[in-house]
């Protein structure tokens, strides 16, 4: 089952596009089917965003946990995805 990456965004968040682009490109470095991503509109899913502790846009959750607040660098994101894969193997 693929690990979910969720990018918390809103219509007015111009910086979020950069994060979405980064994630959609970066997961291509991994074998297909290991990750899938979705954009979460915080206004539409406010309760869920609050549950995870989201405070600002963009934020990124991996495997149902908030991992980044703000735009992550490519290497930070790659490390986080690899860590998730290792944890899933254990």
């Amino acid at each position: 089952m693929p690990i979910q990456i969720e990018i918390f965004s809103s219509q007015a968040c111009s910086r979020c596009v950069r994060t979405i682009d980064l994630i959609s490109e970066l997961i291509l470095e991994f074998p297909p089917g290991q990750f899938e991503w979705r954009k979460v509109d915080v206004v539409e899913e406010l309760d869920y965003a609050v549950d995870l502790g989201v405070m600002s846009m963009p934020s990124v959750a991996i495997g149902g946990e908030l991992v980044f607040t703000g735009h992550p660098s490519g290497s930070e994101l790659r490390d986080a995805l690899q860590a998730q894969l290792l944890a899933a193997d254990e």
Binding site: S10, A12, V43, V54, M55, S56
Partner: protein, 137 residues
């Protein structure tokens, strides 16, 4: 007006200090929420710092929607926690649980409003706060 090691205050002063009317202060004494309020030789009520502290406690408890009867039980616990009856202890525990529930709700509401405000700050057109509120109406 000074009395012993502590301070003492007349009813008008207390009313001004804590924002409770003189009539209500007299009523609290009548129903024994305030006990043993000192009197001067001429019979004027003289409230101590401890009385003020009790009044502030009553105010806080009222803000939490506690009834006066419940507050009276909490005050007896506050006065002498070691000697409090089992029933009073249980009631205090129940109230503590209620407060913790309210704190959780408040914390969540705080988080939600902070998130919406942050969204608003980052928004060039329109404010998602309005959309978020509309969603629940």
């Amino acid at each position: 007006m000074s009395r012993g090691a502590g301070n003492s205050y007349r009813i008008g002063q207390v009313s001004e200090m804590v924002g409770i009317s003189a009539d209500t202060l007299r009523y609290y004494e009548k129903i024994e929420l305030l006990q043993n309020v000192n009197r001067s030789d001429s019979g004027i009520r003289l409230y101590s710092d401890k009385d003020i502290s009790r009044l502030r406690f009553i105010q806080r408890a009222q803000k939490m929607q506690f009834r006066l009867k419940e507050i009276a039980a909490l005050l007896s616990m506050r006065e002498d926690p070691q000697q409090a009856r089992a029933e009073v202890r249980l009631r205090t525990q129940t109230k503590l649980d209620e407060i913790e529930g309210s704190l959780r709700d408040l914390k969540r509401l705080h988080h939600e409003l902070q998130l919406l405000l942050n969204l608003c700050k980052g928004s060039e057109d329109g404010c998602p706060i309005i959309e978020g509120i509309d969603r629940d109406v």
